[in-house]
Subunit: 444 residues, 2 copies
C-alpha cells in the first residue's frame, strides 16, 4: 500500500484528542441547555435520496451538494441517487412529512450534526462542518419565536461567552420600511439586501448600492438622510409606523422583546435594517452578535413556507442556529480540553500487571480517571514518568521490586515530585485524600 497523502480530504479536519474533547464538551453543554428548555433531539441520516435535496437550495446551493454514486452496474454510468445532507432543515421537513401524526404539536426539536457542502475550501471555510439548530414546527405564536431566542442566548451564556446582543426585526416591518420611502414593492428584496449591509459599508455605501440597484434618487436621498440621523432606529420606527404592515411588525417585535427581556439576561434590541436571507423568512428575524468581536454567533427567524415543502401545505415554523464552529473558536481557550488522565498506574514489571490492573480498577471505582500504562518495550521508570507527563497525569502509582518486598506502594505527585508511601490496602482512600488536596489547577 506504501506511502500516500495522509492529510484529511480537502476542506475536512481531523480532531485530535484535545480538540475532540473540547468539541464534545461544547456540544454536551448546548444539548443540556436545549433539553432544559424542553427541546427534543432528532437524528437523521447523513445522506438523503437525491430527489429529497435537489432543487431546495437554489441554483448555487444545488451545485454544492455532494452526490453519491449508485452501486453496481449503475456506477459505471456515473449516476447518483443519494446525496450528503446540505443542512438540517430539509431533513426536518422530511421528518415532519413522514411522522407528522407521531410528533407532538408544536414539535420542538434540536439537532447538532455535521453537514457537507462542496464549497471551495478556504480560510475558516469547510466542506464538513457542524450545524446546531433549534426549531419549533406547528406554532404561529410569537412565544415560539421568543423561546428560540431565549434558548440560544442561554446556550451561549452556558458556554461562558458573554457580550451577546440580540438584534431583532420582522418581515412586515421591513416591507413597511420599503413602502414608507416610496420604493416599489418589486424592488423590496434588492433594497433590503443593500440596507442589510449598513453596519458594514456605512450610509454612503448603502446609498451607492441602492442607486446601482435601481432605487429612484428621491427615495435614496430620503432614506440615506434618515440613516445618517443620530437615533436611526427611532427615526425609521416612526416612518414604519405610518404603514399598517409596519404597525403589525413593530407590535411583533415589541412582543418578542418583552418575553425575552423578562426571562434572560441577554440584551435584545430592535434593528430596523436587519434583513437576513429574507427570501424565506416570514415573521420575526434575529441575529445574535458578539458585542466586542462584531461577529454573528447565532441567527434565525420565522419561515412559515418551508417545512411543509413535502406536503404542499404551509406549516408554521420558527427557529434558529448557533454558529457552532465560531463558538468553538471563541471557547477554545477554555479548560474543557485540559482534563484528561488523573492517575497513571505504572507497570514496572509485566509480572506485576495483574496487581497494577487491580490498583487501577480500585482507583477508577473512586470516580477517578485512571490509565494503566500499556506501552511495550522496556519497562523503564523514566520512560513511564515521561509518558505520565505527556498525558497530563497528576499522580503516578509506582510498584517495583523494592515495594513488592516491603509490602508497600508509592504515589508520586507529578507537579511537586513529592512521593508518598502507603500499604496496598489503604491505597484507594490515601489517593483519594491526596487528590482532594492537590494544588489548584492550572499550575502555571
Amino acid at each position: 500500500m506504501g506511502s500516500i497523502d495522509a492529510n484529511p480530504a480537502s476542506g475536512t479536519r481531523d480532531f485530535l484528542p484535545e480538540e475532540a474533547r473540547h468539541r464534545d464538551a461544547v456540544f454536551a453543554t448546548i444539548r443540556q441547555v436545549f433539553e432544559a428548555h424542553g427541546f427534543a433531539p432528532l437524528d437523521t441520516p447523513a445522506f438523503e435520496r437525491l430527489d429529497v435535496l435537489a432543487g431546495k437550495y437554489g441554483e448555487e446551493g444545488d451545485q454544492l451538494i455532494f452526490k453519491i454514486l449508485r452501486r453496481g452496474e449503475h456506477e459505471a454510468a456515473g449516476d447518483a441517487d443519494l446525496a450528503l445532507r446540505y443542512d438540517l432543515t430539509v431533513p426536518l421537513a422530511r421528518v415532519v412529512a413522514r411522522y407528522g401524526s407521531q410528533l407532538p404539536t408544536p414539535f420542538r426539536r434540536y439537532q447538532i450534526a455535521p453537514v457537507w457542502r462542496a464549497d471551495r475550501p478556504g480560510k475558516g471555510r469547510f466542506r464538513e462542518f457542524y450545524q446546531c439548530d433549534v426549531d419549533t414546527v406547528g406554532s404561529d405564536s410569537l412565544v415560539a419565536d421568543a423561546s428560540t431566542i431565549i434558548a440560544l442566548a442561554d446556550a451561549i451564556s452556558a458556554l461562558g461567552v458573554s457580550g451577546a446582543r440580540v438584534l431583532l426585526n420582522a418581515r412586515t416591518a421591513l416591507r413597511a420600511l420599503v413602502l414608507a420611502y416610496g420604493i416599489d414593492a418589486a424592488l423590496e428584496a434588492t433594497t433590503l439586501t443593500a440596507l442589510d449591509k449598513l453596519h458594514k459599508i456605512g450610509v454612503d455605501g448603502v446609498g451607492r448600492e441602492l442607486t446601482e440597484r435601481g432605487v429612484p434618487k428621491s427615495s435614496v436621498d430620503r432614506l440615506t438622510a434618515d440613516l445618517a440621523e443620530k437615533d436611526v432606529t427611532a427615526v425609521l420606527r416612526e416612518k414604519i409606523a405610518t404603514h399598517p404592515d409596519g404597525t403589525a411588525g413593530l407590535k411583533e417585535i415589541e412582543t418578542v422583546i418583552n418575553i425575552v427581556q423578562n426571562s434572560s439576561d441577554v440584551t435584545i434590541v430592535y434593528d430596523p435594517v436587519l434583513a437576513r436571507g429574507l427570501s424565506y423568512y416570514t415573521g420575526p428575524v434575529f441575529e445574535v452578535v458578539h458585542k466586542d468581536l462584531d461577529v454573528t454567533i447565532a441567527a434565525g427567524g420565522r419561515y412559515d413556507g418551508l417545512i411543509g415543502m413535502f406536503q404542499s401545505q404551509s406549516i408554521p415554523a420558527t427557529g434558529g442556529s448557533l454558529g457552532i464552529e465560531r463558538l468553538l473558536l471563541l471557547t477554545a481557550q477554555a479548560e474543557h480540553g485540559a482534563a484528561s488522565v488523573d492517575i497513571l498506574v505504572t507497570v514496572l514489571d509485566e509480572d506485576d500487571a495483574p496487581t497494577m490492573a487491580q490498583f487501577a480498577a480500585r482507583l477508577r471505582a473512586q470516580g477517578l480517571t485512571v490509565e494503566l500504562y500499556s506501552g511495550g518495550g522496556s519497562r523503564k521508570l523514566a520512560k513511564q514518568l515521561k509518558y505520565a507527563d505527556r498525558i497530563g497525569a497528576e499522580l503516578v502509582v509506582l510498584y517495583g521490586a523494592h515495594e513488592r518486598e516491603a509490602g508497600t506502594v508509592v504515589v508520586k505527585e507529578m507537579r511537586t515530585g513529592a512521593q508518598h508511601t502507603f500499604t496496598p490496602d489503604t491505597l484507594d482512600t490515601a489517593v483519594n485524600a491526596l487528590w482532594a488536596k492537590r494544588p489548584p489547577f492550572p499550575p502555571s
Copy 2:
C-alpha cells in the same frame, strides 16, 4: 415541490426524540467509561479521499464503499474522488501516519461514529450504522490487550448489561492447534474458518466442513474425536502445548486472563476454537458474548500489521469494538429515553407570555427542565394540558385571569390532578419542594 417519498433513504434510519435520547445516553455512558480508562477521543471526517480507502477491505468490501462524485465538469464524467468511511480503522491508520510525532506512545484512542456501507439493506442490517472502537497503537505489551478487554467489559457493565462473558484465544495457539493435528500450514486459514463455527454447527458439522475444505481424513478424525470430548478446552490445550508456538500462545492467554480477572467482574475464559477474521489478527483475539442471548456484543484483538499501512512499516496495535447497535437494542427498555420535560409553563393569554417566560426561567435556574408552551392557535387550557400529557410533563404552571386578579399562580400535578396555589414570589421554592416529594417514577 409537491409530495415525495418522505422515508429516509433505504438502509438508513431517522431517530425520533425518544430513541435519539436513548442513543445519546448510551454513547455518553460509553465515552465516560473510556475516558475513565484514559482512552482519548478522536474524530475524523465522514469522507476520505478515495485512494485512502480503496484496496483496504478486500474485493467484497471495496464494492461496498459509497463513492462521492466529483463536482463541476468532472461530475458529468461520473468520476469519484471521495468516499464515505467504511470503518474507523483505516482513518486511524491515516491519522497515525499524519500526526505520529504529535501523539503520545502508546496512542490510546476511542471513536464512536457512523460508518457507511452499500450493503443490501435487510433485517437489522443498515447502510449507516455506528461503530465504537477502542485501540492502543504503538504497544506490543499484553497489558494493552488486557486493558482493551477491561475497558469494553466496564462499558458493557456501565450500560447495565449483565451476563457478559469473554472468550479469549491467541493467533499462535491457533497455529499450533492446526499443526498439532498434522494439518498442513497451507490449510490453516480454511481449517480455522471451519473450527470457528463449532458453537454454531456442532462437531459433525465441523467435520463435514473440514473434509470439504480438503483437510485429510486422518486429521479430521483425530480433531473431531477430541472436539467431542467433555472438556474440549483441556484436551485441545494439551495438544497445543506440545508445540513451541502453542506454549507461547497459551502463555499470552494466561497473562491476559490474569490481568483481566484481577480488575474486572467479567468472566473470561480460554476458547481454543475462537478464530475471528483471523486474516489480520496477529496476537490475542477475543469475543464478548452475552451468556443468555448467545450474541456477540464486543470483539477485537491484536493486529500488528494494519496500522502502519500508510507508512510501509509495522506498528503494533490492539483494540476492540463494542457492538453498539446491538447494545442499543439490549438497553432499549432502560429509562434513558423516558426523561424529558419536568414542567410545562402554560400561556393562557399571550399578554401574559412575558410573565410566564419569567416563571419558566426561574424554574429552569433551579435545575429543572422547563418548557414554555409555544403552541399557537387558541390558548385553551384543555389543549395545553393535553400537550403537557403528551410530552410527559409532571407539573404544569397555570396563570389565568383569576390568578392574575388574585395575585396567585397555580401548579398542577399531572399524575394526581392535585392543584396547589402559591404567590408568584414563592413559586421557585414551592415547586422545588413539590418536585422533591413527587411520587416515584414510573407511575404505572
